[in-house]
Amino acid sequence: MDFDLSDDDRSLADGMRRLCTGRFPLEQLRRSEGRRSLDRAGWSVLAEAGVFSLRLAPSAGGAGLGTAQASVVFEELGRALVPGPVAATHVAAAMVEGAATGERTVGLLPRPGWGGPGGGPSLPAMVGDLGSLDCLLVVDGDAVELVETGELDGEPVEGLDPLTPMWFVAEIPRGAAVGAAAAAEAIWRDHLVLSGALLVGMAASTSDMAVEYAKVRQQFDRPIGAFQAVKHMCADMLVRTELCRAAVHAAAVAVDQPEVGDSVRAAAGAAMLAAQAADANARACIQVYGGMGFTWEVPAHLYLTRARVISQFLGSSGALADVVAGRF
């Protein structure tokens, strides 16, 4: 047993962080606030970096790496707020032609009304980035279906997250069955793990932002981070991040090494904790920034709304807790 990140894991993370800060710096992403279409060139960069194909066998054009490594990569994507259906396209890579190479972008939805592992929101359905999706995987407890987006009747609406355009879709049609119950469970579970990893990165990022600000912002002739009220808020942010990061990594390892434990329980619990941490840390970050945290300019709110968008598609805390409770 060695649960520490390996040197390879660390260089994978470093490389992805460099890619994100170089190609997707937040100032640049923010110039596309309100966008309705995906940056296809950026998407290709992600594909070339192996974001979608990472877990495919080398014979299938992938890197043959595990979910643990994917979670390390996705944490960096989350930290950088890279937009688009990255987790969905990744988990679809083995099932949808062109997903791994970035030629097709793939969305993922729970079948509305499905209350299975992780639960799912009921109608009306909201679909992010619909205008740029080539197809959707729709999952329930029994099957995975592939729905071509041309068959969807979506109405563009203003999104909560200015970097994730939204469409209102009154009805999700049936699609072609592309997988049975086991595939559905695996896809849903892996999507929980990788979405969890995105949320871990977001929780870490708002924690870092708050800590840095607390070191430099002066009030009453000292850095606000010297006041216990702020200091302890920052400590709690770190605790939340560390806990959900360990949980997401353990869930990822459980996917790769089925003998070490129940990967569905681990995935549901990790996604739940990561969603809570991303939300709570974004709120704490706004509070530490004070008035500035309430401005559009400071990006704390982008983490808050993105966390809500991602979490909404994973199921509520209660639904995820139910999965853990049933399997504990």
Partner: protein, 395 residues
């Protein structure tokens, strides 16, 4: 302890209620929250109607042009406004609840005559110039400087969180007039005309996308010495008077509105079936009990203020609890919205019933984050409660 209203209070309520029933339904449609000139026009027209009907400055003293009603009548007034879904103060917030009451108490007869009637009539709108980029929680460290030149102060500096700056005529402005002694001993309270040369306004966008606040850049702005409220370097004391109004009954209207919101959420949850979940009912019951308790606390604060003449420290207790509760009620709203909360556009409801109003609810949720920050962060409020009420030592 008596929660019944007196005959005269009930008579006032009845009269007001019948007036509101007459005028509110025929008001023009509310303007877009992003159209500030239209909001100014709407809010000042409403203020004019109140003035003409004798309801302007309900709890202002008579010598300030107000009705001179008791705090209890002010409470009845707020209850009836909320009940009738009437407009609230809007852009007149600073004038009616901040600057006006301060001038009533601290202004000269000339200042009262010049500035109070236009506030009550809806002729002039005020904004606030207190905070600065480096003086937020630590307001007394403000650095905007005023130097006296003859009959004017010449003011240079930067202000932030100036509400309604773009549509304001006057600004209640805190400036530094001395660097000697403790920092709160060198502050002066001025009335700055917003049409004076040298004022640059840069709107500040909030996380809900609104431009309710602005930054003010002041470069050699001349403010007549006659516009000074209180003595030079005595502005901190005047400011405490101003803030005591903000921390008094200022949140009662929002409390009543939040109770109404929770009732709407209950109706919606019953319709959607979410009510069948114990957790949803328990959240409604928990928050309902807390709102009832805050309403009781507000009435206690008002009764005590009636006795002592000033809002008491209970206001900090109220503000601390209510600001967090407001966030939790808004959060329940978002949770009940589900996926519909991912859009700020109005969406049809899942069950064909009246939608919860997802656009307005999302905006309310985002704006609620402000509540634990504005008018004293929760951290500062806890210091106030611990040090001023409990007598715990300063660090």
């Amino acid at each position: 302890m008596d929660l019944r209203y007196s005959q005269s209070e009930e008579a006032f309520r009845a009269e007001l209620r019948s007036w509101l029933a007459e005028v509110v339904p025929v008001l023009p449609p509310r303007p877009s929250p992003h159209d500030w000139p239209a909001r100014r026009a709407f809010d000042t027209a409403w203020q004019k109607m109140l003035y003409d009907a004798g309801y302007a400055g309900i709890d202002w003293p008579v010598q300030g042009g107000g009705r001179g009603a008791s705090p209890v009548e002010q409470l009845v007034y707020l209850e009836e406004l909320e009940r009738a879904h009437a407009p609230y103060v809007g852009v007149n917030f600073v004038g009616l609840l901040h600057a006006g009451p301060t001038i009533v108490v601290e202004g000269t007869p000339e200042q009262r005559a010049r500035f109070l009637p236009p506030i009550l009539r809806g002729d002039e709108v005020w904004c606030q110039g207190f905070s600065e980029p480096d003086a937020g929680s630590d307001l007394a460290s403000l650095r905007t400087r005023a130097v006296r030149h003859g009959d004017d102060y010449v003011v240079t500096g930067t202000k932030i969180w100036t509400s309604h700056a773009e549509v304001a005529d006057c600004c209640e402005l805190l400036v530094r007039t001395s660097d000697e002694g403790p920092k709160h001993k060198g502050i002066t309270w001025l009335i700055m005309p917003m049409d004076a040369p040298g004022i640059e306004i840069r709107p500040l966008r909030t996380i809900s996308g609104s431009s309710e606040f602005a930054e003010l850049f002041l470069d050699g702005v001349r403010v007549p010495v006659a516009n000074r409220v209180g003595a030079e370097n005595d502005g901190w004391r005047v400011t405490m008077v101003t803030l005591s109004f903000e921390r008094g009954t200022a949140f009662v209207g929002e409390l009543l509105e939040t109770m109404e919101l929770l009732r709407r959420l209950k109706v919606s949850a019953r319709r959607s079936g979410a009510w069948d979940e114990g957790e949803v009912r328990h959240r409604v019951g928990q928050m309902g009990a807390e709102l009832d308790a805050l309403w009781a606390l507000a009435r206690r604060n008002i009764s005590q203020a009636t006795r002592t003449g000033v809002p008491g420290t209970g206001a900090s207790v109220f503000k601390l609890a209510f600001s967090e509760l407001r966030q939790r009620v808004a959060q329940l709203g978002m949770d009940l919205l589900g996926p519909a909360g991912l859009s700020t556009d109005e969406l049809p409801s899942a069950d064909g019933g009246e939608p919860l109003g997802n656009g307005a609810l999302v905006e309310l949720w985002l704006n609620a984050f402000n509540r634990t920050i504005a008018a004293g962060t929760s951290q500062i409020q806890r210091n106030i409660v611990a040090e001023r009420i409990l007598g715990l030592p300063k660090a």
